[in-house]
Amino acid sequence: MSTLSPVSPNPASGAGSVKAADGGPELPVRRDKPFSRANLVQTVAGGYIPLIVATLVVVLPLLWMLLSSFKQPGEIVTTDLKILPQSLNLENYQAAMTTVPFARFFLNSLIVTTVGSTVKVILAILTAYALVFVRFPFKNVIFVVILVALMVPPQVSILPNYILIAGIGGKNTLWGIILPGLGTAFGTFLLRQHFKTLPGSILEAAEIDGAGHWRRLWQVVVPVSLPSIATVALVTVVSEWNDYIWPLIITDRPETMTLPVGLTLLQNSEGNGAGWGILMAGAVLVILPILLVFAALQRYIVAGLTQGSVTG
């Protein structure tokens, strides 16, 4: 939080001091003078205030979640609102862990995200390479099939997939959670678009050196495409971690639940006022990892999610 708070007040006070130092007593107050009074008022009102308001609207609820996760039931079940918790005690986190097997959920989420994302990224790389660099009839037809799959929302497939996966014994298993989401239209599409922009000369050089497809893929194409692959990987990690509807349906026992599903379980057992602190601790555990990943690598994530396509 200490990283979040200083940014909003600083620019405003900075602008204020500039105003005081420069003063605005010059008679012809023209708008194009950088430090004129009118211009400063305009900068603060039109520039900083909307920016600060927009940032606060996003930051405050998340800050509230974090603060509340440290509060005792007595600090929450009260009409006298206190903003800061009395102390940074972790009792809510402990309570969340003991009420439901939270460590298990966390581990399950970690496994599902790691395995699911790794396989998806590899499949996307292989398929995109094949579509761009390997000769094959009907490649355009295959590409259209992938494009159309991009537009099919996974939500309309939940019932048939449930029947299919439950039928082959995948209910309440981690592989049952992972398997149906492994086919990747989004990653394939994104990487294909990128591979198409690679200069043919680098591959020809490798081919002349006698490198086969496998070596050309891993030693030439992948190393020069790392930013695009990172984009696909991060977007995949985010969506695997947050995935809710499918794990919710295919698991009903705590042993195989992922974090978002486990939070639902926690919500059911802590549905009264005193449980909010525990629920906020749970929310922090599901939100914080992705928030940290986003803070560190947001350039790739934003690029991937606003790519001008419908993500699946």
């Binding site: 000769r135 992938i146 929302p153 449930y162 809710y244 906020m280 947001q298 606003t306």
Partner: protein, 316 residues
Amino acid sequence: MTRQLTGSPAAPAKTVPSAQRRGRWSGRTRRDFFVFLALALPNLALIAVFTYLPLINNMYYSTLDWTLGSASATVVGLDNYVSFFTSSDAPHVLGTTLIFTVVTVGGSMVLGLLVALALNAKVRGTTFARSAVFAPYVLSGVGVGLVWLFIFDPGYGVLSWLLRGIGQQSPQWINDPQLALVMVIIVYIWKNLGYCAVVYLAGLQGLPKDVMEAASLDGANGFRRFMSMSVPLLSPTTFFLLITTMISSLQAFDLIRIMTPLGNGTNTLIYEAYLQAFGAYNRAGYSATISVVLFAILLIITVLQLRFVERKVHYS
């Protein structure tokens, strides 16, 4: 001289096609054929089984009277569709979906454009603000839903405290069907606003500077420039956002499920399909019917988008 010149290129020209024809199913080409299959087949098979097959199965299930988990089902033809469209379900579910979609799409686009304007200001701190505003879009809908459920809590939520401060009683957000929908819409807009803002920001930064400057020199003020220059010039961005946000609003599930577990006034198509099969009723056939209706709507939007984009290409 001339005979030599025309003669020499003609010879290879004759041999190249024949070499290609001969090599079509031999040597490198044949190896490429199998390399392609080895690389692409796993992914293509997964897409076929878990994306395409369910579409067909859904249509089949929608013709069944079938309780989920039961071994037997009766084929009832289009009865499920008839009962959906003739019962009170259709106006209720379609109406809720329409309200949710229109308000969330409109709300996040209008507010997203305003936030994009704020982010486009020539002041410091815009990079941080841009990240902050986008962040909720990548966060877990379940986590976000719980945080806001706490804020909206009529007894101990911040909102009830603020309302008490101005002498108001907090409404029962969850128990009142209409307020529950309002609550879910507010939170959905909060979560998705940043996506619209960042896409609009890219659009604003791509506006032709000379044109905007010319308008400014002609004496057009900020608001005038925005309404008669920026808004029309941004129309491709607006159209793109309209389609993408509409598609994702129609698929919104996480927030709705966590904030209103029993679907009180928030039964959109996707949520009703879920509740019918996996809620209290176990009506698999009926659920599949609603999924098919949802898919049909999404298909129409996608087709409209493709047609429109084709037409748009001629302008640019």
